[in-house]
């Protein structure tokens, strides 16, 4: 019970901080918007911005999600100085800290996914035919990215080098990314195929594994 209350207050603190210096959130959204505009202009210069093939649409979307995710979440542990963390350490359990970071990153990632989906629809058109499936995939994508990159970024922050987040995280995210692309293909058809629930189940299991591993491993990182 205490854990949930602590997590909730940490999430509130996190979002208050974000709103207080609004440039943080704005810069994240601007990063995605700018990337998609660059992508659109590059495709347009090659005469390929309209009627882009569905498989390339899918790959481009998830690659942009990936880098937006890395860019957003690599900062999650360096915004506050270490003396502040010492203060949290005396107040709450490490599980509450990582849990709040993971949930907060999930919400941020969901926001990024929705913004970029709308922008993709605007500039490149959208092949999505089954919105419910698409939303499930985006939710799972945000979960996977936030669960993986939160721990990786805390590792990178301990090395005092946030550029390491990408190096450490990219080889680990590959399998999740492939499954996400496979699953999001289902959203381009009205009927889902028979493999849909199998792929969904594997991804949920993966996320569950990442969740448990983060909760177990983070306390070791935190104590300095």
């Amino acid at each position: 019970m205490n854990l949930i209350q602590n997590t909730w207050s940490l999430i509130k603190k996190e979002s208050k901080l974000e709103i207080k210096n609004a440039y943080g959130l704005a810069s994240i959204v601007l990063y995605v918007v700018a990337t998609i505009v660059v992508l659109y202009l590059s495709l347009a210069s090659q005469g390929a911005s309209k009627n882009i093939e569905v498989k390339y649409w899918n790959v481009l979307f998830w690659i942009i999600m990936l880098f937006a995710g890395i860019n957003t979440m690599s900062k999650s542990f360096i915004q506050e100085n270490s003396s502040r963390y010492l203060y949290y350490y005396s107040l709450v359990s490490p599980q509450a800290v990582i849990l709040s970071k993971m949930i907060y990153n999930l919400l941020l990632m969901l926001l990024i996914s929705i913004v970029s989906s709308l922008l993709f629809k605007l500039v490149l058109g959208s092949p999505v035919k089954n919105s419910l499936v698409y939303f499930i995939v985006i939710l799972l994508g945000a979960t996977s990215f936030s669960f993986l990159f939160t721990l990786v970024s805390s590792i990178a922050s301990k090395a005092q080098n946030i550029a390491l987040t990408a190096v450490l995280g990219l080889p680990l995210i590959v399998i999740l990314l492939i499954y996400l692309m496979k699953l999001s293909r289902e959203a381009f058809f009205v009927e889902t195929s028979e493999n849909f629930f199998k792929t969904l189940g594997i991804l949920v299991l993966f996320d569950f594994m990442l969740f448990i591993l983060s909760l177990i491993l983070f306390p070791y990182l935190w104590r300095d």
């Binding site: 301990k158 090395a159 680990l172 590959v174 399998i175 492939i178 496979k182 990442l210 070791y220």
Partner: protein
Amino acid sequence: MNNIFKQWWWKIVGVIILLVVIIAGLGIPLNPGITDVQPQALNIGEQVSLQINAYNSDFTKSNNQITSYLKSKSSFIKADSVYVMNEYSIGAMYTIPYELDGNSLSNQSMDLIVIDPYNGTLTQRNSIQVQNNNIEALDMANAKSAVKPIVLSSKNFGFPNREILQESIRNLFFHVPMWFGMVFMLLFSFITSILYLSKNNLKYDTYAASGAEGGLLYGILGICTGMLWANYTWGSPWPSDAKLDGAAIAMLIYIAYAILRKSIEDPIRKAKVSAVYNVFAFFIYLAFIFVYPRLKDSLHPGNGGNPAFSNTDLDNRMRMLFYPAVIGWTILGFWLVSLKIRYKFTLLKQQ
């Protein structure tokens, strides 16, 4: 654990096993096999003489007891006569019928079989193409299949001569044990990382780092030997294949681990952070190699319908050397790891 590393008996065992593996693996000759046949295209109803060339064979020692067959589906045509030309080539006279057991032979490809008591059974799949240029030859219109030949094995001890693989089959003793060795060393690194997190003893961190370095070395060697092998058998050093992708990901993960270690100065923080990453990465990597090959077909044996370690694939002569090769290379890997560990301890003592 350090005591075991300092003992020498297991290193000697490893070296002896590896010497045997290298000498036997490279020295034992390949069984005879057919290299080519002239002519490769035959006409229906024709009586034809085939010249069959073989590798590693000695037909002069077979006392004219050679028989030769052509196989189409499950029917056989026996050669009318077989004569020895030299050690490496024989000639075989065949009469090709129009139909065999009621199946038309036109535009069929046939397998060639040569059996003799000295060289054993030599086969080549789809070596003869039957054409249909000779419609008038109806006197041999329909023939019955010859009796199914009895397979004889070679008098000499040798490795199986498989099509496409041929001499490169020896790479089995070098390429495959690299992956076994890599997995064992990475497992060692993973376990010692967990030990570090639970016991907070810096010794385990040294073990984990050295294990990961050994695993990385074996992974790179495995990729190199695999690329050589793939270039000869699959026609490209890096074909699209699930296991290659898995190997590449493993290399990326452990290179990232090495970079992470280099980027932290404080030894205790370095140990803690890299142990956490090692445990996290190993779980994801395990999940990757269990799940990913199910997404994608592989050219490797044991995937996508290809056999692996079955009786038809790896015969007992190779098995006798393959398991020692795995043990020998693993021991050599752990020897390297133990040297690395002792080197790092010495460095720590000097500081």
